[in-house]
């Protein structure tokens, strides 16, 4: 594989008991499944690998590890180094409905011990999943109890492990995965710096960077009183809105969901203006700005101008060996220039992408039907 020097391969283990919901969440977040489709998934045999190109110079190398006892034993014994070596993140999924919680925790601590031994620097995220099956008023307490109990079994990761309640039926899934991805992005600070500058220039109230395929938030910048926006869950809500829209378009136009991308969405009202547009090959930028046509138009032009800057941070445009890549890059900047010209001529030029799916997700086991 052509791995450019600055490209960061990050190995992520997805583990937990069979039926906990690992493949379900993976297929929703990364493969455009809708929640009601996941019933079709069968148990995972051994490990399914997927490579996901992400914002920044990040390449996710996701290991979805089948959770049946035989497989787990194999990971822990015969393949210990192979599985647990050079891991960046372990995501461990607990099923809240499980009747054998203590046994689940024992299995968890076996895995934690293997991780501690082979990848002591890894980060652990624990997802307590299927929270929708618990009555709403009991959720918080049950979650806290379970989390505390699991923490005590976390050995050397005891102080660093993070917990999230999740369900495929609401945006909690996006909230958790957003945090995980954020942790993995190596140049998040640089991206944020650029975003902050851009926000100042275009006088945005808020800028949010979304990864295009997953609609997960990469990062955001919030200015002024937008910080008091009462909808503190808005980032994952928008993720979920975007994903739903994508599926709706795919369903009714017959385009595969992976390609049902919009070039731009604008919403203008008396209180705010909002648009989402493609920023780089792998990202969309959402901007909330004051309700003014001038600000709106200036913002769109400025975003076009900074696109190359962001593209430099994006993995796809690195001068990697491979002529294709370089070509794509220059085509990209040509298009920018064209677009700018159109703009100054007063025409509303429509942005058309290359029509190819930019994010390649290789799924093992014939999964990505």
């Amino acid at each position: 594989m052509n791995t450019g020097k600055r490209q960061k391969q990050r190995k992520v283990l997805l583990m937990g008991k069979s039926g906990a919901g690992k493949s379900s969440m993976r297929s929703i977040v990364f493969s455009n499944y809708v929640a009601k489709d996941v019933r079709r998934l069968g148990a995972t045999i051994d490990v399914e690998h997927s490579n996901i190109k992400f914002m920044g110079n990040l390449m996710l190398n996701l290991w979805d590890c089948g959770g049946q006892d035989g497989f787990v034993e194999n990971y822990l014994n015969h393949q210990r180094n192979h599985v647990f070596g050079s891991v960046a993140v372990l995501i461990f999924v607990f099923d809240i409905e499980s009747r054998e919680f203590p046994a689940d925790v024992i299995s968890y601590s076996n895995i934690i011990r293997a991780l501690q031994e082979c990848s002591p620097g890894a980060k652990v995220f624990v997802l307590i999943h299927k929270m929708d099956l618990v009555q709403a008023r009991l959720r918080a307490q049950l979650f806290d109890e379970r989390a505390e109990y699991i923490r005590t079994a976390s050995e050397s990761f005891r102080d660093s492990v993070d917990f999230f309640p999740t369900s495929i039926w609401d945006q909690s899934l996006y909230k958790a995965w957003t945090q995980i991805i954020y942790f993995l992005i190596p140049n998040a600070a640089t991206i944020e710096g650029l975003l902050q500058q851009l926000a100042e220039v275009i006088d945005a109230r808020e800028l949010i960077l979304y990864e295009r395929t997953t609609c997960l938030m990469v990062t955001h910048v919030t200015r002024g009183e937008e910080g008091q926006n009462p909808f503190t869950d808005r980032f994952e809500r928008i993720s979920s809105i975007l994903k739903t829209h994508k599926q709706s378009m795919a369903k009714h136009t017959g385009i595969p969901a992976g390609s049902a991308n919009f070039a731009e969405m604008q919403i203008k009202t008396g209180r705010f203006m909002f648009f989402i547009t493609r920023l780089t090959e792998n990202t969309n930028l959402a901007a909330s700005i004051p309700p003014s046509e001038q600000v709106f138009n200036a913002a769109r032009v400025n975003i076009l101008l900074v696109r190359p800057k962001f593209a430099e941070l994006d993995i796809a445009s690195k001068p990697r060996p491979g002529i294709q890549q370089a070509f794509a890059h220059s085509a990209e900047s040509d298009r920018d220039r064209d677009r700018l010209r159109d703009h100054s001529a007063g025409g509303e030029s429509e942005y058309r992408g290359k029509g190819k799916e930019p994010v390649s997700i290789g799924m093992g086991g014939g999964f990505d039907g």
């Binding site: 109230r205 009183e225 008091q228 926006n229 009462p230 909808f231 808005r234 809500r237 928008i238 809105i241 739903t244 829209h245 709706s248 378009m249 369903k251 009714h252 136009t253 385009i255 390609s259 049902a260 991308n261 919009f262 070039a263 731009e264 969405m265 604008q266 919403i267 203008k268 009202t269 008396g270 209180r271 705010f272 203006m273 909002f274 493609r278 909330s288 004051p290 309700p291 003014s292 046509e293 709106f296 025409g347 509303e348 030029s349 429509e350 942005y351 058309r352 992408g353 029509g355």
Partner: protein, 405 residues
């Protein structure tokens, strides 16, 4: 757009300017504070369980009935939609999903209805939805039949297609025959419901069988022309909204005007399909007369959700900035939205808030690229002006902030 102008003035002579004034004071109360920030996309969705008594009798006789409605005495003047049918056929579920946005899966917990439940819906047109208990004999003399069937806009009869339906049909037939005697103009709308669980074949067989059985009975009694229509519905997809749209469209006297306006908008701007939506319920009250398929309705309906959700997030009540209020520097008073798709050859979507209750949503064809936006804006403006005369009430109800000038 010239033609729409003409049509418009022709229409204004027979428009219906009078609406019960009492409605006016009622508007701002509504327990909808959560939704109020929805920018100018007013989202004034309020829906309460108003008992009849809360609605003051109108000083002016209501005029928005179709010619088919029996004349009312000075009642509340709101067309009623009656939901009737067997126990557990899904009446309360339908009402909750369509008018209260209850997620369909949560209807599993709805308890059986024991008393008539009346809901008032305030929108471009006010109407009431009466959810009946399934076990009632609707013509029991103990019941005030007149009070129930007077002024109704439509009787919706719900049949559970997953269940044994012969008894349901018997009762339906009896009800229709009874109605034919005293209220022959009532639209009877039969919802063949819960079709989500059925195979395509079984579904269409059942549907045909039910229609046959009802029509046989009607013609045996000499009522083959009774106004009875049939729909296949489910709360788990958009079909229930579509069916409701069609039911309600029959109660809008201005429908032909609206359709003509939409047709002319579509042809001037090369719009593939245009819908006029009631924002709150996502029922469409009119569309152009080109063939409709449920797919385009679904796209538009999902699109409203996107715009409403984003508007809710960013339309919150901001503190005034540096002393001068935000409203002073307004952008669009009417919310507007546009989605362009990335792939060549894909349609794009356009939404424009028309008034407090209504939004226009258009599916644009390939041959109307974004450059034509100016043309579209202009023509939509014309359409909007025309509509103000069709539904004068919505105009009067402009949010207070702007009416002070």
């Amino acid at each position: 757009m010239d033609s729409s102008h003409r049509r418009l003035s022709a229409h204004s002579q027979r428009s219906h300017p009078d609406e019960p004034l009492s409605e006016h004071g009622e508007a701002p109360q509504a327990g909808s504070s959560r939704l109020k920030p929805g920018a100018q996309l007013t989202l004034m969705r309020y829906l309460q369980d108003l008992p009849d008594a809360d609605v003051p009798p109108s000083p002016v006789p209501p005029r928005y009935h179709t010619g088919r409605l029996p004349n009312s005495k000075a009642g509340d003047g709101k067309p009623r939609l009656l939901l009737m049918g067997q126990r557990r056929s899904g009446k309360s579920s339908i009402s909750s999903v369509v008018f209260h946005k209850l997620p369909p899966s949560e209807t599993l917990y709805i308890e059986t209805t024991t008393r008539i439940k009346k809901e008032s819906m305030h929108s471009f047109m006010d109407f009431q939805v009466w959810d009946f208990p399934g076990h009632l004999d609707y013509f029991d003399p103990a019941f005030d039949v007149d009070n129930i069937f007077e002024e109704i806009g439509a009787l919706i009869w719900v049949i559970d297609a997953q269940d044994e339906y012969l008894e349901a049909i018997m009762r339906l037939n009896m009800t229709i025959l009874n109605l034919q005697n005293s209220y022959p103009n009532i639209n009877v709308e039969v919802f063949v419901h819960k079709v989500d669980g059925l195979s395509e074949d079984y579904k269409s067989d059942t549907f045909r069988d039910i229609i046959q059985r009802v029509q046989d009975e009607l013609s045996d009694n000499g009522y083959e022309n009774a106004p009875v229509s049939f729909y296949q519905t489910s709360i788990y997809d958009h079909s229930i909204f579509e069916a409701f749209s069609k039911v309600i469209q029959k109660l809008i006297p201005q429908l032909p005007t609206l359709e003509a306006l939409l047709n002319s908008l579509c042809s001037t701007c090369h719009i593939e399909k245009a819908y006029l939506f009631d924002i709150m319920s996502k029922i469409y009250i009119a569309t152009d007369t080109s063939p409709t398929d449920i797919g385009s309705y679904e796209i538009c309906s999902d699109y409203i959700d996107v715009v409403i959700d984003v508007s809710e997030i960013y339309g919150w009540d901001r503190p005034a900035e540096n002393g001068h209020s935000e409203i002073a520097e307004t952008g669009n008073n009417d919310a507007e939205s546009l989605i362009t798709m990335e792939r060549k050859g894909n349609n794009y979507l356009y939404l424009r808030e028309i008034n407090k209750y209504l939004a226009l949503i258009c599916l644009m064809g390939d041959d109307s690229p974004a450059e034509k936006k100016a043309v579209i804006d202009y023509n939509v403006g014309v359409f909007q002006a025309a509509l103000k005369q069709v539904f004068p009430r919505a105009e009067r109800d402009v949010p207070q902030t702007t009416s002070e000038e």
